[in-house]
Symmetry: none
DNA sequence: GATGAATGAGTGTTCATTCAT
DNA sequence: AATGAATGAACACTCATTCAT
């Protein structure tokens, strides 16, 4: 199957290879410093071929962006589809991020460093992705407030910012410092820490 | 009085004007898209003059970076110098950020979007600024744990990430959405929200 | 046959074309006045292509420099390798210069006007090329002194300076005045003049 | 007298200071690399003042050029005005160059490196200076041929090129290698070498 | 006379993109 | 599909020159 260069698989494989190379190079040098030549070289192909599989540098970036948001929204679909406690729901989000960082650190890195902060090219369309994600998280928070599981004196929007901010802050720091998650154990501890503090606070009284 | 172009004041003013123009343009277009011409035009001068006051585009960026860190470290000095409860200390940090965002949104924006995530050109020297800031915050957290004010079952480093992450997440969202703080009242509510959730948790039990 | 732009030959030809264009433009305007656009235009290509074949303007200049020294040293190798009288050896040097000026006046011009006098950027490495050439010529002179063919009361180093100076002076003047060698006859007369005067002096008694 | 800043002397002194600074900087960096700022700094004044005393960078260069040619022609006047043997006349020229190099190495350096080879901006007017100098030297050579002191089988023009070439070659080498004349003794030996070889040849038979 | 802030033409270089092979 | 030669828009930066003070 893989021998046939005309198969759909072959095309997808090549595309995926370029995709990964792009993530890797963009992670290392940033979007603007990442040259098409670098990406092609990293993928082991000629740079002309990049244009065969992706129309332009911007398209390549859009593909990465899409990959990120598709995955995130798929997780959110699952998160909201079934009845679950607020603890479980937020745990699902936290674990999704940590999981993804273990499996595809380059993708997460690119999101953190390039997508999440690129005010520069932040078209309304791009902003929409963020807004929708925040809205859905807010809905989860609001639902838990309605059920009486979350405190009501802080706006659900604020809870969203705090929760996602704490999570992203954690990821960012790992990304910035290039620290890798060392094993399942550490990941659990981190997830536990974030969720515990978010639910019960950092105050000493919270742990008793 | 200000007519004398040779006076020290005049020089500082011009430099400050270019500085602000740079923040503004970089905020709008991102560092790489920000052309020196744009900055000059925004400051109402010829672009050659930018090079008279700042050696290069990188120098200009370094100046912005320095401005940010100088301010932040000055605040941290104050924060650590006097005896205070953990609540007061963290409130000081939160308020510093929110304050600065009110007074100099462009500077904060540039930090959030360009400095805090520029993994690309993250030299060890630049990383050092972050590390030191995290270290100092961690020390505050650890101190409060020793005093029994903060829970001990979460590493002080993690508490740091969660706290600063939540704070930065909040700021980021404002920055990304170009939302301005609407009045002292809203700022207080936000500060209260972040600190409350961090200390006592988002759980409904925390508010009782 | 030459249609294949990927062949080695094609590449070498293009490079050579740019090389010659560079010599020509540099000859006409001097190194600093020679713009890459000029060179490209002269070679009938876009200026971006110059960077495809040569890394930078400096590289282009280095290539010219290398071409010059390679040729000169190859001649010197031949000059020193076989047993020959001092007359023949120096004749070989003189003829090499005059020959080259006929075949590649631009190259000689660039050497005379740009390389041989660029004290400005005279790195130790560049100086080395001159020193080695002088050293080898000096060795030839010293050898002839040992054999009793050249007078011993003038240091071989001085003889070198005088001989090469006279030769270069001649070439320079042609270069400066843009005079072309008019035929084999004139070239012979010039070579004869330089060698005769060097060996037997300009004094009237020398010709008897 | 020197106290009066309005005196002619003061102006001339300032001009001379700038002139010397220009020679020095141009010698060190070449004409195109020599910035007005460098020259001003070297002269201990502000760069604006350079424009007060010299109209432009080109004017400054012209002044240097004029200084060179004025001196040279003054010497030639003397050389030709009185009856003298060809030996004495050529000795006068040789000594003039060596003398000047001792007294004003920067000026000589600038001539060798910048004026004598600047084909780039070689206007007919500039070329005229060279031509006239060569013509006058040629006339001296021709005169000696008529008197039977110099061999007639080499064109006087060629003798000129050979003689001045040898002389300039010597100077150039000193200039390039930054070798300074070490004392009166060495200068005499060099002058003797150049003249001896020019008159009697380098051949061993010439010295017997 | 003296200063240096201000200007902007000029140019080397990069790199996304196209396209002939 | 695959290659890489070819193109040229875009931009940082330099520096001679002017001129208000």
């Amino acid at each position: 199957m893989l021998q046939d260069p005309h198969s759909m698989d072959h095309k997808k494989e090549k595309q995926a290879a370029i995709f990964e190379a792009a993530c890797s190079v963009i992670r290392e040098k940033g979007f603007h410093q990442a040259r098409i030549v670098d990406i092609a070289r990293h993928a082991g192909i000629s740079y002309g071929l990049v244009y065969h599989y992706f129309g332009s540098k911007a398209d390549l970036f859009d593909a990465i962006s899409k990959e990120w948001w598709d995955g995130l929204y798929a997780m959110m679909d699952q998160c909201e589809s079934q009845p679950a406690s607020i603890d479980d729901r937020l745990a699902m989000i936290v674990n999704y991020f940590l999981d993804l960082y273990e499996r595809r650190p380059n993708l997460v890195h690119v999101f953190i460093a390039e997508i999440s902060r690129s005010t520069a090219n932040l078209t309304p369309a791009r902003l929409e992705f963020f807004t929708r994600f925040f809205d859905r998280t807010e809905r989860i928070m609001a639902g838990a407030q309605d059920l009486g599981t979350l405190r009501k004196d802080v706006k659900p929007r604020y809870l969203t910012y705090i929760f996602l901010g704490a999570l992203e802050g954690f990821i960012s720091t790992m990304v910035m410092g290039e620290q890798l998650l060392k094993g399942r154990e550490q990941r659990k501890r981190i997830a536990r820490g974030i969720l515990d503090v978010f639910f019960y606070g950092a105050s000493a009284s919270g742990q008793d």
